[in-house]
């Protein structure tokens, strides 16, 4: 699945429970307008340093220059694009770090993005680019940082507008930026393409992708997590959203963010037609990872992901052409050259996801230009780059590769599982050995296909029904633990030359060097350097956090650096634990971190009482609680479904503030609330508030809302009671007890008492 926006449902539900406290959820203690969404691209506090203007590697460019003769905007010391080069082969020409000195690599600096800005969410899948001494890196929710490549000092921060909606996204990574024509480019979760000034992080321009790609909006399930690619001043993007059955596409833009192709390249038919006609949510075929380009031919290649519903091919009959495929188009026009499908009628969500690699290799004894890709099925393909002729097909990369067809109601163990073999994890080609080095996930899942008629019933756009019973992506078989492996695939023969097994699934990809090193980050937190020829691990360094991104290698001041983001993804190895950047060089600090804890962490429940209580929580300020009272829509004398103060008791410490919200759902009665002393087990009838301000100030009409605040005083028993005539006497009240200031607030429902955990701090 493209986990651009939505990972495991359970995680999202938990995050929803944490986030949905019923209060304003401010991302920075209420006051962050200095970086608010209304101030797009605003500087953060103290971040006034400008970054050195990236210089082009091979020549300057005119503003807005486009066409076939635009030089590359970065040089051999840079890591100027997602994959190091447009061919996505991820090989650095730098050789200062070699097999005989790699064991001297140490960490020269670390950046904790959440320390720079606490709004940065946990998790990191960003692939840094480095241009002329500045590292440009993104985080979840589309924050961008420029970091001095030598010292680790923050140069500037770009803060996206409107980040609150991103909190809905269970997994909201961003995998990086593109640079060209003097600008940085980023695609945002909410489907905008923006350009940023690399000098100071100010936004230059923002466009809705839907202006050029009709319907490509978050409302229809689209999101962006990929790094754009800018080639000869054309910015190329696809999008994520297969889970929603969106229509996949690739589009190209000029650097002024006007569309460059006459129409988007759509990967699948229009909505409701052909194999998308059985149900409203059939679709997919997204291109959610970066595009690959051969600069010698100006042909672009991209991977097209799985169709949806992912696990029920019967609802999208036939091979679903161009899904699970590799496509070649003319980069300047989007005109199709050829396409090849790796897996038709997919029922395991084995999409083609990783960026393809294009390169010249020795194949079956002859030098040849080929394009190759590994898939989530864990198999590898190679094609003639010009014609698409198959050269190698379905070369298995995994220890265990077995996936019987699914049938409704039958639990089936499949290898690999839903995370797949090669997910977005990019591979690297080493010309010296003729090997493609892959970092893959060895996974398993138990999948039980759901009844197609049940999946199809009442399915409308907005629904996500992947087609499994009981879980969205299956579950891990008992006794199985996902692990990883790094393979060298000999392109000549199409066979595996060596394989090194590692403890955790490989998600972040490989970067090789021209002198025979392969750098790979693992879900166990280790960054490893392997001998490309033999697979021996020559060096490893425990970074302390799961790694789900690939290394970027650059040179500054005669020194070679390896940069990698850490923090990982919740979809593997219990990642999503940090948002950091580690940079290594010879002579760096070799003090390693403690390994990450590879188990699910208990989630904070600050100020929140979970099931089954409702309506009562810790307030925004110190010594404050909130309470919501909802009158019954039927007119019954109930508050929140409770009656007579018998079943429910709120215990609130003395001298605490209580913020009360009244929502009058009663369709016929005007309402109000007052806090009065309890006498004889019933609310007193005087109607005079027991505490100053402890009452609604005006009648609340049907459908109306009111707010009031009071401070608890004398310890004792009180009632929060309806002021509508006769309602309190009929039972429309809630019991409140004011207790000593040393006691925490609690709510008792029946025989269960739940405590508001005030030690966890403010809800977030």
């Amino acid at each position: 699945m493209d986990v651009g926006r939505f990972g495991r449902g359970r995680l999202v539900a938990i995050l929803a429970a944490v986030a949905g406290v019923g209060l304003v959820i401010a991302l920075a203690t209420g006051v962050f307008s200095s970086k608010s969404g209304s101030e797009v691209g605003a500087q953060g506090p103290g971040t006034t340093t400008t970054a050195p203007l990236p210089s082009s590697g091979t020549g300057s460019q005119g503003a807005g220059a486009t066409g076939r003769n635009v030089p590359t905007p970065f040089g051999p010391d840079d890591w100027g694009t997602y994959g190091g080069s447009y061919t996505q082969t991820r090989q650095s020409p730098l050789t200062l770090v070699a097999k005989d000195n790699v064991n001297r690599l140490g960490r020269v600096f670390s950046v904790d993005f959440r320390r720079l800005d606490r709004r940065v969410p946990l998790g990191e899948q960003s692939f840094p680019i480095v241009i002329n001494s500045a590292i440009y890196v993104t985080t979840g929710s589309n924050f961008v940082f420029a970091i001095d490549g030598r010292t680790g000092k923050e140069l500037w921060e770009f803060v996206p507008s409107g980040t609150a909606i991103f909190k809905n996204y269970g997994v909201n990574p961003n995998r990086g930026l593109a640079y060209c024509d003097g600008k940085l480019f980023m695609a945002t979760l909410d489907m905008r393409l923006i350009s940023i000034n690399p000098r100071d992080g100010k936004q230059i321009k923002s466009v809705d992708i839907s202006a050029a790609v009709p319907g490509a909006r978050p409302e229809y399930g689209y999101s962006e997590t990929q790094a754009p690619i800018c080639y000869k001043n054309l910015v190329l993007i696809g999008a994520a959203g297969s889970d929603y059955g969106v229509r996949g596409f690739v589009e190209a833009y000029h650097t002024d963010l006007t569309p460059a192709w006459s129409t988007p390249y759509w990967t699948v038919p229009p909505w409701g037609t052909q194999w998308r006609s059985l149900i409203a949510i059939a679709g997919g075929g997204t291109v959610w990872n970066p595009v690959t380009i051969d600069p010698l031919t100006d042909i672009a290649y991209f991977s097209v992901a799985a169709p949806s519903p992912q696990y029920i091919p019967a609802l999208r009959p036939g091979p679903d052409p161009r899904t699970n495929s590799l496509v070649a188009v003319d980069v300047f026009t989007g005109k199709q050259r050829w396409w090849q499908q790796q897996l038709g009628a997919d029922s395991w969500s084995y999409g083609t996801s990783q960026p393809p690699l294009v390169y010249e290799a020795t194949v079956l004894g002859k030098k040849r230009k080929i394009v190759s890709v590994g898939t989530k099925e864990g198999v590898w393909f190679a094609y003639d780059a010009a014609t698409g002729q198959v050269i190698h097909r379905s070369v298995n990369l995994l220890n265990h590769n077995e996936h019987p067809r699914l049938s409704p109601g039958k639990a089936v163990v499949v290898y690999p599982g839903s995370i797949g073999g090669l997910n977005y994890s990019p591979s690297s080609f080493d010309p010296a050995t003729n090997f493609v080095i892959n970092s893959q996930a060895e996974t398993a899942s138990v999948l039980t296909q759901d009844d197609p008629s049940k999946v199809a019933k009442n399915a409308v756009l907005g629904d996500v029904r992947l087609g499994l019973q009981g879980s969205e992506f299956g579950y891990t078989p008992p006794g199985w633990h996902d692990f990883g492996s790094i393979t060298a695939l000999d392109v000549n023969s199409g066979t595996i030359a060596w394989k090194t097994v590692v403890p955790e699934p490989g998600r972040g990809g490989v970067t090789t060097t021209a002198n025979g090193l392969s750098f790979v980050g693992g879900g166990d937190g280790n960054l490893r350097a392997l001998d490309t020829k033999s697979g021996s691990v020559l060096w490893q360094f425990q970074t302390g956090f799961q790694i789900a991104s690939g290394p970027s290698i650059y040179r500054l001041g005669g020194k070679q650096y390896i940069a990698i983001t850490t923090g990982g993804t919740p979809t593997s190895s219990y990642g999503g634990t940090a948002a950091r950047l580690d940079v290594f060089a010879l002579g760096g600090d070799q003090t390693q971190s403690l390994p990450p804890v590879l188990t699910a962490a208990p989630l904070p429940e600050a100020g929140v009482i979970v099931q089954p209580t409702e309506y009562f929580g810790l307030g925004k300020d110190s010594r404050t609680v909130t309470f919501q009272a909802v009158t019954d829509a039927s007119g019954k004398p109930l508050l929140n479904g409770w009656s007579g103060g018998k079943k429910v008791l709120l215990t609130i410490p003395h001298d605490w503030t209580v913020d009360v919200t009244l929502a009058n759902h009663d369709a016929t009665s005007t309402q109000g609330l007052v806090v009065v002393p309890v006498s004889g087990g019933r609310p007193g009838s005087s109607g005079t508030p027991a505490f100053s301000g402890a009452a609604t100030t005006r009648p609340v009409p049907p459908g109306g809302v009111a707010y009031f605040s009071f401070r608890t005083g004398k310890e004792g028993s009180y009632a929060l009671a309806s002021t509508a005539p006769g309602r309190a006497a009929a039972g429309q009240w809630v019991a409140i007890k004011v207790v000593g200031a040393d006691r925490p607030p609690t709510i008792t429902i029946g025989s269960e008492t739940y405590t508001v955990d005030v030690t966890q701090g403010r809800p977030s």
């Binding site: 949905g20 809905n168 202006a211 006007t258 569309p259 129409t263 005109k335 907005g462 919200t661």
Partner: protein, 369 residues
Amino acid sequence: MRYLLLVGVAAVLLLGTAPATPAAAGNVATGQAEIVLPTQSFVEAWSAQSENRRPFTGLLRLAGRPVVGAIVQVDGVRSGPTSPAGEFVGAVDSTLPQRHLVSVADVSAATVDGQPLTSGQRSALVAARGALNVAYSISGLKVARTPAGIRISGTVAQADQRPVPTVRIFSYRLTGRVTDANGRPVAGAIVSARTEDRGYWTVSEPTDADGRYVSLFTASDESSRDPVPFAIRIAVGDRLFGYLPDEEVYFKRLQSAVLDVRLPPPGFATALPAPVTQRGAVYQGIVVAASRDGRPVRPLQVSWPDARGRFAILLPAALAGSTVTLFEALRPVFSHFPAVPGGAFDLASWPAALDPTWPDAVARIALPR
């Protein structure tokens, strides 16, 4: 396949006439600017073997002379400079009915007969407009007066004569208004909704200046519960409003709803809203209807095409003797009752104006007196 210029083609539009001025020495006299385009073409079935575009060649002329070196744009995508013959090339999606808008984007380097343009000529060119229809073909048109009105019927099909995709349910609709604690509209808010059993949210368009929003809405979960509980959140910039945990909002199953939300003052719980059920859902299909003088004619009835593409329009008798044109609209439409192939279109959703991207003048009909 390239479509060449034909004189007298219906899609030629003559606009942007500049006032006549005395010809400057060496300059062509200012005159009519025209974008000349091919005749409309028909929607084709999508194919995996191509990028599904139809290339075309158009002409840009001024007073009948080719304009060289101008940049034309089609649907906002710029072409290369016009050729010495005044030609420009473009391409449009061949698989969806759409009226593609063509205009002149840049004349800064343009010439006519080797001469730079005067400001009047530039203005005339920049004001020129053209449009290229890709439409479903309409055949078998019949027009008859009936006691109820004037009935137009026909068949709409793809280029290969296969029937058009029939109307189908698109989604349910959640709509409403977001206001602040003082009842003032909140613009730019996004309302999101999710059922208990699903890890995925639907999100609304940002609220407009009046605080109004529209969202896809699933209106069901995998259980058979009715009403269906949803978690609702409201994002405003960097602030996210939600409800206390498990404090769900209940919606009538398989119906649309109106949900007005009142955001609280700082520190207070967001008041649980009470949705109002709105019977109906959003459907999408092609509608063939009549327009006159550039405006849609409100019919007495119009049907969705059936499985064979047959449609019918009933127009008021008052239109007898006039000429109408047919347009095609493919868009999501709210219907208070189920929209089915061959069934009635909900006129409560009748458009007040023609969308410029709807193919128009697909056919012209003289209504009988």
